[in-house]
Symmetry: C2
Subunit: 397 residues, 2 copies
């Protein structure tokens, strides 16, 4: 059938891009053979233009190669790549008490103090996934202990680095519960069942009942007052469509894990809502930041088109189509797929551009930097490939 | 003569824009008659879209209205406007020990802790200028004491908020010595002569001999290692042309104050170098951020065109022309004048846009926000008007 042909073609497209282009790009260009760890600041051709090492990206690359080893192929080169990064992280990434720095110099000296909770979440992901690949209990312990530290910091993730004056305006942020949705499944094998259940419930509640706002037509906001009410402030008006859409495939995964079709339906509905909300009708693509009242954002980069936003959207749409056969998901998938492959993919050199201006032109020609590493592109290609495989199987049946 | 006509026309243009459009815009729209202080988040028409109060902008508006009162006209409405803002700042802007918060809620409750040294520098400017207007010794004391606190923080301006791990990479930043060049003249009337001399010498040395780099062709970098060597890191490669150009008119003012023609020449030469370095040959305008090795910047907003960059450039070029009759200054002035008035000025409503995309289109339609207030536009119009007056007088003689 014609549809099956299309799905088969797409599956090959996502799989080949991952295995023939993106994975070799990082294997070849990012590994620091001298000091260990990875370079993430790579220019268009893969040349290193800066040697600082960011814990977010070190951890995410450990995770990616471990995940590929676990789920795609027992390729020793991938495992070695993950292990060398993890050993660098284990040795230099934290202060001795698993307080994870934000960045290190090339040789591993601490540059920026452990102010950022997501250094901890991505370290947990990395060591959790690698512990699966190796059975190494030390890696498992690092993941488990770091996860405990994260939970202990939930009420004030920035700790002493928090510049908000106590008592005037207490906001809570969407990012941490959203990441925990994904992380709880990532390290499921390390958590006690009742604790896992409780964590999943809390995260689902926060994402779907606190940050998702029916009174705003069902969009997700980035910050609310601690008591759950909306805040009419820069932070409280902020919308990050890509963030919300990424969270929705985490929720779909949880919906499958817990067998909750209505939760899945709600996540798909919210995905579509956020895409329509964030879609740039003039130039195409999804905006980075918006203000829910239409006021100017604080973020000067608000109108830019970012790789991860579009790749995460593809995942949510394909999962949505797979789980419910929603035609709306497939129509939007076609549209975002076209935009993403046309605009972000570099026809000449491997890996994708990360940052486009509003018009869809390349804003920074880097393949990796302070925030872009070996993560969203390979994870997205993998997720799409595997979801297309499931769709394909179902359609053929 | 034709030239005199042109200068006269320009003088009227800058003066009228200031007095007929910009000053009335802020007088009318920014004053919070209920709680005191100023709204700075104003949309295109001058409507308030957010009520948070940022100490940078509160202070800068006190300064602007005090300065206009001191230098243009003893207009009571201007003085009242400055005093009400200063009283709000005096009461709510600091922690009781002149540690200046970064921002406050509308009613004056602290929102963001005093982590930012420039809240202190602009508070000093504000109270220094207002003390001239009023003769009020309390205002003078606030300026003087805050200035002492700034000096005590010079080695680690961020204090406990500094996230850089001690000992790995010690950089120093251009912004503080650059601002002190201006501030030392601003509060000259409050400083002891020998101390003033010493401060001026230190600032001139830092700006012209530490951050200005002959080995890079005479451009100014934003950060250097503490020992004065260049740093090949994101921060160490950063160039902010507008920042450097703004500093050059502070240096020209110091050159006049100290009667140093060679310093003035060097400042003019550097102004022209930075304009040529930062000029966008494709779309016109001066870039916001650049990397001195041509690598991608961390700043996603690098290619945007900002109001203050262009207005400060006009000041430096006019002062350069006034002081040396440099034709190159006048040619560049013509070019930047055209760009600035065409792109930033709103034909329909008063005050200027602040943020354009690379192409020169309006990126955010605000007239004021978190970083744009009653400062660069009125100060720039005033400085250009007064410099044109001097040029005019000289030419006619």
């Amino acid at each position: 059938m014609e549809n099956n042909l299309r799905i088969n073609e797409l599956k090959a497209q996502y799989k080949n891009e991952l295995l023939d282009k993106v994975v070799p790009f990082w294997l070849k260009n990012s590994q620091d053979k001298e000091y260990g760890g990875y370079f993430s600041c790579l220019d268009r051709k893969g040349n290193v233009f800066d040697t600082d090492k960011f814990i977010w990206l070190q951890s995410r690359e450990v995770w990616t190669f471990s995940m590929l080893y676990n789920n795609v192929e027992k390729n020793q080169e991938w495992l070695d790549c993950a292990i060398q990064g993890a050993e660098f992280l284990k040795k230099y990434g934290h202060d001795g008490n698993l307080n994870w720095y934000f960045s290190l110099s090339r040789e591993g000296k601490p540059l920026i103090e452990p102010y950022n909770i997501f250094s901890y979440t991505f370290a947990t992901m990395a060591f959790g996934q690698l512990s699966k690949a190796t059975g190494n209990t030390e890696y498992a312990d690092i993941a488990k202990q770091t996860f405990d530290i994260i939970l202990s910091k939930i009420d004030n993730p920035k700790g002493k680095w928090n510049k908000a004056h106590k008592g005037t305006r207490a906001l809570k942020n969407f990012a941490l519960p959203m990441i925990l949705c994904n992380l709880s499944l990532e390290i499921e094998h390390l958590l006690e069942e009742s604790f896992l259940q409780q964590t999943m419930e809390t995260c689902i509640h926060e994402v779907m009942e606190v940050f998702l706002r029916p009174e705003l037509g069902g969009i997700i906001v980035e910050n609310v007052n601690n008591d759950g009410t909306l805040s009419d402030t820069f932070d409280g008006r902020l919308i990050n469509p890509g963030h919300a859409i990424e969270a929705m495939w985490f929720i779909m995964d949880l919906g499958q894990r817990l067998n909750r079709p209505r939760l899945i339906e709600k996540a798909i509905e919210t995905t579509l809502k956020m895409i329509e909300y964030g879609w740039d009708k003039k130039y195409g693509g999804i905006f980075y930041f918006m203000d829910r009242k239409g006021f100017p954002t604080q973020q000067l980069e608000w109108d830019q088109k970012l790789w991860w936003v579009h790749i995460e959207t593809l995942i949510s749409l394909l999962k949505g189509f797979h789980l419910t056969k929603s035609q709306e998901c497939m129509e939007w998938f076609d549209r975002i797929h076209q935009y993403t492959w046309n605009k972000f993919r570099d026809l000449e050199y491997a890996e994708w551009y990360g940052y486009l201006n509003r018009q869809g032109e390349v804003l920074l020609p880097l393949k990796g930097g302070k925030w872009k590493g070996c993560f969203h592109v390979p994870r997205g290609l993998y997720q799409c490939w595997k979801t297309l495989e499931k769709i394909n199987t179902v359609t053929i049946e």
